[in-house]
């Protein structure tokens, strides 16, 4: 067992000290942060740069347009064609020209923004909203209705979902559940594939470099395989922990420095998307309402055992192949259950409690992904336990079979190996 530990250490430290590991570990949180904040940042960085001239022939819109941090309006007078020429020659220092013709209040049309470049969605929406608002008000006045009264009468309903549980009632939120479920499922999928192929590469490389015979004259192949699987698992966990800590730090720093500016951007976004920040706050609130310790435990469990389950298979696949083109064909049967699970996972959001979802969250091939995706919607305790139990059994069977394939496969060179050979290795060797 000492030697397994040595292999473990070697696999762990050579990888953790590797440059690409360090770069990847540091880069991913930054990328994630960027992706998360990109939409906000984009609106933020645009601010103050857009000037729009308004040529209002209807004369109805004086004072209707409010300047904001990224949009400045000024009214101009004159002939439309003149102004278009000026815009073409870039003489006037405006980014766009809004032309408002005389219009029939029943059928308002003919509003155009002339610009040298495509205008952004934010500008388009702002202008549209302003025009709509103003014309609506005009129509209300024509109809003799008090706009303020109408606003007073408007209502907005927020449907809450209370999930009944033994421990009491819990506020549910479909959107939050979907988000958490998909993110967790996808993350699991990514980790299985990424670290699974890392295992396969580690096995194939040792075989390709002809080191394996020296190693197996020192350590039984099964122990060697275990050392590798756990060594790389430790690398995965290290990376995961660094990511979690790093993202938390980044988030804190980010919110400290950026939140005042971001808040403004969020409000701008609200104006566009019509969603309210109250909803976002609600969503965050209901994430807190999840059973966090259980989720964390289940996540860690399915992450680790899902990884171990597949890594045994990947190790076996790596042992069978000795060049990369063959690797591809061997991984195809391995990727099918993973990709199928991804497809089912999308379905989980629509039908979290359908038979397909339940069965696939129990079967070891798909359970690491599907159970992860089901968790935010609530899973009966017995299903969770059964799924975990089956995954452990599956892991043991896989490791046993992979050990047999590994033992013979790593010393095979140049021979094309088919599934029949592999079956024989598993069942017909002592």
């Amino acid at each position: 067992m000492n030697k397994t530990l040595l292999v473990f250490k070697k696999e762990y430290f050579t990888r953790v000290k590797n440059k690409s590991f360090i770069i990847m570990t540091l880069l991913v949180p930054v990328l994630i942060m960027l992706l998360m904040t990109l939409p906000l940042l984009m609106t933020f960085f645009k601010s103050g740069t857009n000037k729009i001239a308004i040529l209002d022939e209807s004369g109805e819109f004086a004072g209707a347009f409010n300047n904001s941090s990224y949009l400045e309006f000024s009214f101009v007078k004159g002939n439309l064609n003149e102004w278009k020429d000026k815009l073409n020659q870039n003489e006037i220092g405006f980014d766009g020209l809004l032309y408002i013709p005389k219009f029939d209040i029943k059928y308002p049309s003919g509003f155009v923004v002339y610009s040298d470049k495509q205008i952004g969605i934010t500008i388009q929406k702002t202008i549209e909203n302003t025009l709509q608002n103003k014309i609506e008000t005009m129509r209300f006045i024509d109809a003799g209705i008090d706009k303020a009264k109408v606003n007073e009468l408007k209502v907005s309903i927020d449907l809450q979902n209370i999930v009944m549980q033994e421990g009491g009632e819990k506020k549910g939120n479909v959107i939050a559940s979907i988000a958490v479920s998909q993110v967790m499922g996808f993350f699991q999928y990514f980790m299985i594939f990424f670290y699974g192929s890392l295992i396969m590469m580690a096995v194939t490389e040792e075989k390709k470099n002809r080191i394996v015979e020296i190693i197996v004259s020192s350590i039984p192949p099964f122990q060697l395989m275990l050392g590798k699987i756990f060594g790389i698992a430790a690398v995965a966990i290290t990376q995961l922990l660094i990511w979690v800590v790093f993202i938390m730090i980044l988030m804190t720093v980010f919110s400290l420095f950026m939140s005042p500016m971001l808040l403004e951007s969020v409000q701008d976004l609200d104006a566009i998307a019509g969603s309210s920040s109250q909803q976002i706050t609600d969503m965050l609130g209901s994430i807190e309402a999840f059973n966090i310790p259980l989720m964390l435990f289940a996540f860690s469990f399915f992450f680790i055992f899902g990884y171990l389950f597949y890594s045994a298979l990947f190790a076996g696949a790596g042992a069978v192949t000795d060049d990369n083109s063959q690797n591809q064909t061997i991984t195809i049967p391995l990727s099918i259950p993973v990709i199928l699970s991804m497809m089912i996972m999308v379905n989980v959001a629509q039908q979290p409690h359908s038979p397909l979802t339940i069965w696939s969250s129990l079967i070891p091939f798909s359970s690491p992904i599907i159970m992860m995706a089901r968790l935010p919607f609530g899973v009966p305790f017995w299903q969770l336990i059964l799924s975990m139990f089956l995954l452990i059994i599956g892991f043991i069977i896989n490791t046993w079979a992979a050990g047999k394939i590994y033992r013979i496969g790593i010393l095979m060179y140049g021979k094309k190996i088919n599934w029949n050979d592999i079956r024989k290795w598993i069942f017909k060797t002592p």
Binding site: N2, K3, L6, V7, K10, T14, N209, R210, I211, E213, I214, I215, V216, S217, S218, I219, P220, L411, Y413, P430
Partner: protein, 308 residues
């Protein structure tokens, strides 16, 4: 016990090939033992069974190590496989540390031994180099060190000189002979006969999973001598027709004499001296190469005869 390793009825079959066909073999302690045979004879299969890489179907392997109390007998074997390599990205020092510790050495002892060997082979500068920075021959020396760094009693070298230049071949040969003098046992597998003749004490010739010839190198050579002598002389043979001898002139003053009637050497010399003045008289022993080819061909013919 004087045999470090005893194989009894060692047997291994793959799907439809008998790789090792119930072989009995004793390896004497402190010897350099040549395991010879054509490609695919079963040498590597045998070695892999001894090194516990593949499992045997039946038979037994007994080790008699001096040093008792080593839990894992794999730790007392050093193995340089024919298919060998290093981790290309890893530093030489780190690799050797890994290999040495995998053979059960403590980190301290491993470091000590590595330094000793790197010094001995003038390779100290390589400690911090990555394997991929070294030439193939240099890598091979590192692999050699990796196989002996844990100071095992039994060493198994499979084609250790393949790909080495003559200088490094000599260096390695010297080290191997020296190891044998330090009471290490060396099993040396190859089909390079000249090297075997130079360094081996005993050999076993394997073909198709069976030992077809086995014993001390000297004895084997004697057994296969063809009673041909090379003589250098002064004078002229009056007649080439001497009873029971077949004389063939090589050049002026040199001839090959075949002793057809197995006269004792002294009588043979006397008979020749009657005709010419002899300077030198040497028996020509067959080269191992000739024996090897002859035996393998004979075995093949016998197999074919059996089939017909």
């Amino acid at each position: 016990m004087n045999n470090i390793l005893e194989l009894k009825k060692l047997h291994k079959e793959y799907e439809n090939v008998i790789a090792v066909n119930s072989i009995d073999l004793d390896i004497p302690r402190g010897s350099i033992f040549g395991l010879l045979g054509p490609n695919g004879a079963g040498k590597t299969s045998m070695i892999r069974i001894i090194t516990h890489i593949t499992m045997l179907d039946s038979g037994s392997i007994t080790f008699n190590f001096n040093e008792k109390g080593i839990k894992d007998y794999m730790n007392n074997i050093g193995y340089l496989p024919e298919e060998r390599g290093l981790y290309p990205e890893m530093k030489i020092g780190e690799q050797l540390m890994f290999f040495a510790q995998m053979k059960g050495l403590s980190a301290k002892k491993a470091k000590e031994n590595i330094n000793h060997w790197l010094q001995k082979l003038d390779m100290e500068d390589w400690y911090n180099k990555k394997a991929q920075e070294l030439s193939k021959g240099m890598q091979q020396l590192v692999q050699f060190v990796a196989s002996i760094v844990h100071d095992p009693e039994l060493l198994i070298f499979d084609e250790p000189f393949s790909g080495l230049d003559p200088i490094n071949t000599e260096r390695l040969k010297k080290e191997i002979v020296e190891l044998a003098k330090r009471d290490k046992t060396i099993i040396f597998s190859t089909h390079q006969m000249s090297q075997v003749e130079e360094i081996c004490d005993e050999i076993a010739l394997i073909d198709k999973g069976v030992i077809i010839l086995e014993g001390k190198l000297k004895d084997i050579k004697n057994r296969f001598k063809k009673d041909i002598f090379e003589i250098k002389y002064n004078g002229q043979f009056q007649s080439m027709n001497i009873d029971g001898l077949d004389i063939e002139l090589v050049e002026d003053g040199c001839a090959l004499v075949k002793n057809l009637k197995y006269y004792p050497n002294s009588q043979l010399l006397k008979m020749l001296s009657d005709h010419v003045e002899i300077y030198s008289f040497t028996e020509i022993l067959p080269s191992l190469n000739e024996i090897f080819i002859e035996q393998v061909t004979r075995a093949k013919n016998m197999m074919e005869a059996k089939h017909e």
